[in-house]
């Protein structure tokens, strides 16, 4: 027999029964659900979280909501924290210059949309009033940042204005927040560990969690790489290594030598790096991918002091074409299509006089590679391809991995 608590007093049993139900139907979230610390609060309209993993609960809301819906709210609130909605809101606010409570309300709604489009079902009831993308005429399975671009606050959203998931959802401090020094808050380190444990649980048992959670867990375990920065660092490092760029040399006396008789000082010499970009123009690489990567390499080589005429481009499919200087900027003919043999591209690039200091290869990797290390630094920008791309005539064929001597940067979509 169950006895409801008198109105106005938090019915803890009901609240915890809901959490238990949530943990039973979503076992991979159990760690996170139990790590939440409930705090009774009369100022909160429903349930709200702060970034220190406290969950503020309104007794009246618990009273009027059935257990199965409360379970949905628990999962909803913990999803805000696991998906770092407060941190992402702060970042979006800075990047796009969004200020004011109205914008934060939009972030709360966008975060709700990201959660609500895939956490319910499979034993978990969607709470009444939970806003879904289709309620706003939007498509499903997007991220909070994407939803945020697609709607504005208007009279149509007036009935959503009661939405209130707390500072854990949109980063704006609330008057009921206990703050970083209050009791039972989780430190940054603890939050990272809870997040990591939940993500490991999901990736360890693929298939048991819906797509949104899988995507989230993949990103926690393997965060996306900023390929522009990595490619830039690789090219810069290759171009400024010994033999190129600014460095000291004893080949000529330093200017300071006249001031210090009897002392031998080296002088600063400069030799701008020559960069040759070998572009894989086979049918498997799209023009958009090539364009963005090529622009990036050109910008980077300018930044390291390479003059435009020192950057050359070789477009390469089964047979390499001629070498073009980049100063004919717009008109580099990227001819090709069909299969690739990058070995001819390397030969072509190294035949140039003077020889390049760095060869940057942009490719999807479906190609044979040179057997021996070429006499210059090599950076490979690799367009990722799903493992399923295989040759019909030769099902056992595995494309060769880029060789050990090259620095490989995987170029992602962002």
């Amino acid at each position: 027999m169950t006895v409801d608590a008198p109105p106005g007093i938090l019915d803890r049993e009901k609240l915890f029964a809901a959490r238990l139900h949530a943990a039973r139907v979503r076992p991979y979230l159990a760690t996170a659900l139990f790590a939440l610390h409930p705090v009774e609060s009369r100022q909160v309209p429903t349930m709200a979280v702060d970034r220190y993993w406290r969950c503020y609960v309104s007794p009246a809301f618990v009273d009027r909501t059935p257990v199965e819906e409360l379970a949905g709210v628990w999962v909803h609130e913990v999803a805000h924290l696991l998906r770092d909605h407060h941190g992402r809101s702060d970042r979006v606010a800075r990047q796009r210059g969004l200020t004011g409570p109205g914008e934060r309300l939009r972030m709360n709604i966008a975060a709700d949309l990201e959660i609500n489009d895939d956490v319910y079902g499979e034993g978990l009831t969607r709470p009444r009033g939970a806003v879904r993308p289709q309620d706003l005429g939007l498509s499903e399975n997007q991220l909070m940042e994407e939803y945020l671009r697609e709607f504005r606050l208007g009279p149509g959203l007036r009935d959503l204005a009661w939405l209130e998931c707390g500072s854990g959802a949109d980063g704006r401090e609330r008057e009921w927040d206990l703050g970083p020094d209050g009791a039972h808050g989780l430190g940054e380190q603890d939050r990272d560990l809870v997040r990591l444990r939940v993500a490991r649980g999901i990736t360890g048992r693929p298939g048991s969690a819906p797509m949104g959670w899988q995507r989230w867990a993949d990103e926690v375990c393997h965060p996306p790489q900023p390929w522009r920065e990595l490619l830039g660092a690789a090219v810069r490092s290759a171009a400024s290594g010994g033999g190129a760029g600014d460095d000291y040399s004893y080949g000529r006396p330093a200017r300071r030598s006249t001031a210090l008789p009897g002392t031998v000082l080296p002088s600063l010499r400069r030799r701008p790096p020559r960069v040759c970009v070998v572009v894989d123009t086979s049918g498997s690489v799209s023009d958009a991918e090539l364009g963005s990567a090529l622009l990036e390499v050109a910008a980077i080589s300018r930044a390291v002091g390479g003059r435009r005429d020192l950057v050359t481009v070789v477009s390469c499919d089964a047979a390499a074409q001629t070498v073009h200087p980049l100063c004919r900027s717009a008109g580099i003919p990227l001819v090709g299509g069909g299969g690739t043999d990058l070995r001819t591209g390397f030969t072509q690039a190294l035949r140039a006089r003077p020889r390049p200091d760095v060869v940057v290869v942009l490719t999807d990797g479906q190609t044979p590679w040179p057997v021996s290390r070429p006499p210059c630094r090599t950076v490979v920008g690799l367009f990722p391809r799903p493992a399923s791309s295989w040759d019909e005539s030769d099902p056992d064929h595995q494309p060769d991995r880029p060789p050990e001597w090259a620095r490989v940067v995987t170029i992602g979509p962002a």
Partner: protein, 417 residues
Amino acid sequence: MTTSTPFVAPDPLAHASRLDVAADLLALLRDTHTEPRPDTQLEALTLAVAADLPVLLWGEPGIGKTAALTQLASALDLPLTTVIASVHEPSDFSGLPVVGDDPAEQGVPMAPPDWAVRLVRAGRGLLFLDELSTAPPAVQAALLRLVLERRIGALRLPPGVRIVAAANPRSSAADGWELSPPLANRFVHLQWTHDHDVVVRGLGGTWPRATLPRLDAERLPQAVDLARRAVCGFLSARPTLVHRLPSGETRRGGAWPSPRSWEMALRLIAFATAAGSGRDVLSLLVRGTVGDGPGLELMASLDRMDLPDPEVLLARPADAVLPERGDLRQAALDGVVDAVRGRPDRDRWDAAWALLVRAMETGAPDVVVVPATTLASLRRADWPVPAAVERLTGVVSLSRRADEAGRRAALAAKAGR
């Protein structure tokens, strides 16, 4: 209303007084207060410097690395010497070759720069090598010898000198300097970021004053013991993490696990424990030494080490102290039930029930449900149900309520279809 006359003969007195006013204004601007504020970055830096490990601060230019070093130097009571690496030549660090009267006979001595001579003469100090990454490669090579071998020309830095270096992140460094894996493995890497609130409040006139950690002399043996147990226990469970060269572009130039860096991690755990530092500080240090992944895993295993020992809990269930956090509490209770399963006898079984009652009375009841169900299944036929179970009725009804909710949710889903 008064208007100023455009042409006035220059009056030297008026000039001086104008500068005086400017000096007054400058003095007003300099008049700022400090307030105590916990600062995990600075605390981590202090501990690493105290532990005599070379630290490399990674941070964008202009975010207060120098200010932090000034504060650190005053806290450790060390004179600060700042050397901007990018404006020096390699010979400033490896020594200036000075040709004497008879080089063939006497050799060419490598003369050290004046700051090094002063530092050696003082015998102690904090040497801050700023802008390491914007220096040309030959300068960097000379500097690394200074950091790792502590030699400048013919001089050797005395042990009382601590060295901190700073570098810009790879992505913003003008020329892409990066550490080779063997060098990266010798540093504690700390990412230096600025805190928006601190900057805004500081510009408003109140800068933070970090309270820096102090080592507690009485806790030293205990700290060493804990650090050894933590690292050895973790590495015997995860042998593949003892040595793992960084692969791939992202981890290049950063921290990675090797016996050397694990030894550094062990030393840092001991220092953080002796100083009573929090988890966030320790996490920064450990991740900066053995890398993010292995560092996080070690922190997770420390979490488990913190759980109370099941045997101790079973021995005295009446005054057991369980973790406050729900997920840790459930882990502790699961550990107790596992211990009973491992060596089942009636006293231990009864003690476990008493513990579950205590858990229910001191915290959220839902975490007790799973351990209670498992414990009930361990009952032998000749064991009577303990009286404590009576007091767990709340858990039973809670579990029943969750079951009902599950049934209703399933029915609703069927009806909705």
